[in-house]
C-alpha cells in the first residue's frame, strides 16, 4: 500500500462522509432514511453540470441553482412521500417503499432528460484536477480542497444544530412527543430538514462531479457507501459519519489496491456488515437513548 492509495481513500471518503451527513440531516427530525438520497446527489451533479457547462453560468451561480433545485426536490419528496406516510403513524415503515419509489422516479426522469452519457464537470476557478507531484504524493489541488471543504461543511452543519432551530431538530429526534408539548412543530422541522438535506446532497453531487463525472450512475453507489458511512458512524452522528466516511474510503482504496478494484464493493460490504453485527448502532453509540 502506498500514499497514493491513502489519498484516493481520503478523497472518496470525503464524498461518503458528505452523503452520510446529508442522510443524517433528514434522519434527525423524522427518523426516516431516504432511499432516494443517492439520486438527490446525482441530481445535484446533473443540474450543476447543465447550469455550468450548458447554460454557461459561473461556478458559484451554477452551485446556487443546483442547491436550490435539489433542496426544493427534497422538500417535494417530503411532502408527497414522507409526510403522508408518517402522518398515519410515526412507526410506519412505509417510507422505505415510498422513498424507494421516489428514487425510481428521479433516476428514470433524469435518465430521460439527460441521457446516459456522463458530463464532464470542471472544478471551480483556481482549482484544478491536474496532479501535483508533491514530495512523492500524487494529489491535485481539487482533491485537497475537497478534503478541506468536507471538514468545513461537517463543522458548519454541526453549527447549525447549535441554533435554536437546530436544537429543536435534535429535541424532536430525541423525544418527538415532548417536542410537540414544547410548541415545536415537527412537520415544519421535517420540511426544513428535507430542504436542507436535499441541498446538502446537491452540494455533495456538485463536489463529486469533477472527480466522478455527472452521470446517472452516480446515485446508487454513493447511496450505499453513504449509508455505510452513516450506519457505521451511528445514524444521526455527523462526526461519526465523517470518521466512518474516511474509514470506508480508506478500506475501499486499500482493498482495491491489495485485491482487485472489482472487489471494492465487496470489501466495504464485509466491513460494514461485520461492524454492524458487532455494534448494531454503529461505532459511536446510539445518538439518543431513553429507557422507557
Amino acid at each position: 500500500m502506498d500514499i497514493d492509495t491513502l489519498v484516493r481513500g481520503l478523497v472518496n471518503g470525503s464524498l461518503y462522509a458528505l452523503v452520510a451527513v446529508s442522510f443524517n440531516i433528514l434522519y434527525r427530525p423524522t427518523n426516516v432514511f431516504n432511499f432516494a438520497q443517492g439520486e438527490l446527489v446525482m441530481l445535484g451533479a446533473m443540474v450543476f453540470a447543465s447550469a455550468s457547462t450548458l447554460m454557461g453560468l459561473p461556478w458559484i451561480g451554477a452551485l446556487a441553482v443546483a442547491l436550490v433545485a435539489v433542496g426544493i426536490l427534497g422538500l417535494i419528496e417530503e411532502r408527497i412521500a414522507v409526510a403522508p406516510v408518517l402522518a398515519k403513524s410515526q412507526h410506519n415503515t412505509g417510507w422505505v417503499i415510498t422513498t424507494l419509489a421516489v428514487s425510481l422516479i428521479i433516476s428514470n426522469l433524469v435518465g430521460r432528460v439527460w441521457g446516459p452519457d456522463p458530463i464532464m464537470v470542471e472544478p471551480p476557478p483556481l482549482l484544478s484536477t491536474q496532479t501535483l507531484d508533491w514530495t512523492g504524493i500524487q494529489i491535485n489541488s481539487y482533491q485537497i480542497a475537497l478534503i478541506i471543504v468536507t471538514f468545513v461543511m461537517v463543522l458548519a452543519i454541526e453549527r447549525v444544530y447549535r441554533t435554536r432551530h437546530g436544537k429543536a431538530v435534535l429535541a424532536t429526534a430525541e423525544d418527538r412527543e415532548a417536542a410537540l408539548l414544547r410548541g415545536i412543530d415537527p412537520a415544519k422541522l421535517s420540511r426544513w430538514s428535507f430542504f436542507l438535506g436535499g441541498a446538502f446532497a446537491g452540494l455533495t453531487g456538485v463536489l463529486a462531479a469533477p472527480i466522478l463525472y455527472a452521470s446517472t450512475a452516480l446515485g446508487p453507489s454513493l447511496l450505499l457507501k453513504g449509508f455505510a458511512a452513516a450506519a457505521v458512524g451511528s445514524i444521526g452522528n455527523n462526526r461519526g459519519a465523517l470518521i466512518a466516511g474516511y474509514l470506508i474510503g480508506l478500506t475501499e482504496a486499500i482493498g482495491a489496491s491489495v485485491l482487485s478494484p472489482g472487489y471494492q464493493e465487496a470489501v466495504i460490504f464485509v466491513l460494514v456488515l461485520t461492524l454492524l453485527l458487532l455494534k448494531p448502532h454503529g461505532l459511536f453509540g446510539r445518538p439518543f437513548t431513553r429507557t422507557v
Binding site: D117, Y213, A217, A253, P261, G262, Q264
Partner: protein, 418 residues
Amino acid sequence: MPFSAAFDLRGDGSIDRRSLLRTAARLGAAAAGASLASPLFGGDARAAGEAVKIGWVRPTTGRLVTSFAPLYLGGGIAVDEINQAGGILGRPISKFEEDDEASPAKEPAIVRKLHEAEVNFAVGPTGSSQSLASLAATTRAKIIQSTYAAAAEAGDGKRYPYHYQLMYNTDQQGQVCANYMVKNLGIKKVGILQESTAFGEQATTSTKAALKALGIDPVSVQVYPITAPDLSAYVRNLQKEGAEGVIAWIANVPNAAMIFNTMKTLKWFPPVTGHSGLFLPALFELVPPDAIKNVFATYYRNFTWTDQQKPGERQVALAKKLLAIPEAKGYEVNVASSPYYDFVYLLKAAVEQAKSFEVDKVKQALDSTRNFPGLVGNLSFTPDNHCGIDIKDVVLASVASGQDPQAMGSFRERAPGQ
C-alpha cells in the same frame, strides 16, 4: 401458427393502435383461457403483402440506446436504396423492429418473437454479449443473421451456421494491435485494459495470443466493470506495473473518457491502441486533446486516408449521406463501419443468386460468396468460416485525426507504417 405477428408495424416504425389493441385482446383472451383467439386473428398477418421481413433487433430503450441505435442507420439506408430500386426479386423489404434494451437477457424472448412472426433474416443485435445470447437461439430457429459482434467465435460457421460476421473480429483486432505495439513501436512492456464484457473477454484472449506469438506476455491485465463510477484505480495499476503501451478494449465513450482523463491526471501518456469505439467525437468533449495524441484504434483500410491514398467513391457517398442524418451525428465512424449496410446488400445478392427466399438456399449462396465488394472490404465466406473480413483490410488509425476536416465524420488518418 396461431399468432403470426405480435405487432404490425407501420412504415415509420410506430405501432398501429389497432394492432396494439388486438394484441392486448389476444393476451387478455389467453390469460382468461378463452380459445377464440386463433380462428379470429390467425389469418391477417400474412395479408401484410409480399414484403420480406427482416428482423431489426436494436435497443430503443436502456442505457446504450444513444450509442447502439445509430449503428443501424447504414442498414436502413441500404433497405431504402434497395426498396427504391425495386426490392429483392421484386419484393420490398420491411423492417420488423424489436427492442432488446441492449440486454443479453432479452435476446431469447426476441428470437422467439421473430420466429413466431416467420422472420427468416435478422439484423442485429449489437454487442458481443447480446449477439452471443441471440445466436444461441437464432441457430435453433434457423434465422440468417448478422450481428454487430466482434467476438471471434461469432464467425465460426460450424458453431453458428446461420450467422455471418461482416466485421473484423477480436482475433484480427488483437493481432493488429499487438503487431503495432511490438513491431511498429518496439514496445515490450504491454499492458491490457479491458472492459468486463464478452467483447472485452474475447479481445483480451485474442490479444494475449497475438502477443504470445510475438514472444511477449502482458505486464498487466486490468478488467473493469463498465458501470464503475471511477476507473482511476485500474489505470494506476497499469502504470504501477510498468506498462509502456496499453492495448485498451474499451467500447464506450464514458469509460474511455475516464481512462484518458486519469492518464492526464497522472501525466502518463503511453501509446494506446484499441477498438473503433474510441473514434467517437464525443470523446473530444470529455477529454482534452493532449490526452489522446497517442491513441489509435482499429478501423477498415477503406475508411482511412494517408498522404498518398484517399477513401473510395462509394465510401465517400455513404459518408455524405450520413452527414445529412441527424441521428448519425457523432457516431459516423461506427455507422460507416457497421456490418448492417453490407449485410443487407449481401443478403440481396445471395437471394438473387439463389432465386429464392428459402433459408437453406440463401445460406448456400452466402456460403459460396467470394470477394463480395462490401464497403468495409472484400467479403468472402466458406461453410466453415463465416468471418468475411480479410485481415489485410484492418488497420490502425489515429483517434485525434477525427478533428481533421478530411475526416468528414466517417474517415480517419491511418497510423504511420500501416
